[in-house]
Symmetry: C2
Subunit: 293 residues, 2 copies
């Protein structure tokens, strides 16, 4: 067993077609110490069983993907989405308690897009704020941090009306930092001319709940949801953002989350190996420099 | 001949496969009063001939696409790009003089992407600033406005390291507004939570040189360069941005620029008809309201 960077966490989406048992086994087997889980494979085995499997794996739990999708107007669809988020909050608390020491009770929130048939981006954003107000007390009771993830603006119509870190921080502002924070994912924010000041702001405001890394490469995959690459395979310079994240005092795990049909088509052990190697080359030097400094 | 909105200008890219003669003919024939030209079809007939053809068409000239692509480091490639921009400036001046009264001597600038093999987005942006400093005196002599167009962040790697209107305005700031301005294209900036304040800022700073409209629809085309749609066919609400543009005092033409393989595959007369109809439905009401107000 090789040793991977101790901060590296495998986001389960990177090995999408693995069930929970296999995901835990190959992540630990690849020398990683942490994993970020997705709800669907947890549901496949049931929450209690998933928590036991996670505990047995010895891995830290770095986040649960995902909650959110709360842009629908008031009505049955919105109520169902809110209820789904309540369940996700409980799952996050359970899994964080089951993970190894240093686990993070973080639920990643993806806002949701402009509702079908609507053109009102501003109203959709306002409904994200409303949902946070409704869910924050639930998260606070459960000891869970709701982590708003700004997604790349190319997903604004159909997936996330929260497109920048600044916007995510504005949405988080009315709430206690331990209850509502933000996610920095390099793929989504690397282009933003304001990204480094906003990471610093996230630090000042105590809201940096998760740091995720993967790379951007042109041309994009035909399905832009699957356009993510191993760190080092694209154009992102991981130095400035990683140093900015560490300068905030963030010492949590760093997830690699890759949606990519080619990655998913390769053997899962190879994916873990490639992830660890890409991370070691493109990200670890910046983590190490900060640790020394 | 139907009458189109008097402010509507057909950007030649929307009827991409038409030569200059046909583009002028069907634009005027569709009842439009203005056209935005591309350099390649102008070169195909030669500048002097193109200017005469434009004058004969009776159309206003709303902009030339495009200059820019100035992110290469110093060397032969960069010198060639700067020279190409000098020529584009001269072409813009000639065409604006040949167009009907109300023509705009506007050269649209697309910054260029991160150079091949580089990961230094910040350096690429700095080289755009350097290029503006070099080209601004040329543009000033020619009476041409260099209009920086922020492109959607999904093009940051390979096409434009200028991704927001705020960033474009920051780049323009050192120069006289008549010489360096900005373009607002709804497709590129609709997602930006800061877009309306930045349009107002463009107005205060006297830098709004061009307003372009087309729509965004998910899922994106497999080639994201070709993902643009007729106004009204997607999720963009043209009201707030159009009203903000008019509130700046902008009274120039409004171009429709659509890159879309399906649009290009339909008959060009139909494209002109659909463009005028989409504009009339989705954009004109907001122009008319401002004219009355």
């Amino acid at each position: 067993m090789t040793m991977a960077d101790p901060r590296l966490s495998m986001n389960q989406a990177t090995i999408k077609h693995a069930g929970l048992a296999e995901a835990l086994r190959i992540t630990a087997g690849g020398g990683l110490q942490a994993i970020g889980l997705w709800r669907e494979p947890v549901h496949d085995v049931g929450l209690a069983t998933a928590a036991k499997m996670l505990a047995d794996s010895g891995l830290r739990f770095s986040s649960l993907c995902r909650g959110g999708f709360v842009t629908a107007p008031e009505g049955a669809e919105r109520r169902a989405a809110i209820d789904e988020n309540r369940r996700a909050i409980e799952e996050t608390a359970t899994l964080a308690a089951a993970g190894a020491p240093g686990s993070a009770a973080v639920l990643v929130l993806v806002a949701g897009g402009v509702p079908e048939g609507s053109r009102d981006l501003v109203a959709a954003r306002d409904r994200v704020a409303d949902a946070l107000a409704e869910l924050a007390p639930v998260a606070a009771s459960a000891g869970v941090t709701l982590a708003i993830e700004p997604l790349h603006p190319m997903y604004a119509a159909d997936r996330a009306v929260v497109s920048t870190l600044g916007q995510a921080l504005d949405l988080a502002a009315p709430f206690v930092p331990a209850v509502v924070g933000v996610v920095v994912d390099t793929f989504h924010v690397w282009w933003d001319p304001d990204v480094l000041p906003q990471i610093a702001r996230a630090g000042r405001e105590g809201r940096l709940a998760s740091y995720q890394v993967c790379d951007w490469k042109a041309p994009l995959a035909a399905d832009v949801l699957l356009a993510r690459h191993y760190p080092g395979d694209g154009v992102i310079d991981f130095g400035p953002m990683t140093r900015a994240v560490l300068a905030t005092g963030y010492r949590g795990d760093v997830e690699v989350e890759i949606f990519n049909a080619e990655v998913w088509a390769t053997s899962r052990d190879e994916v873990v190996t490639r992830t660890a190697a890409g991370f070691a080359e493109a990200v670890s030097p910046h983590l190490a420099a900060a640790a020394v400094g």
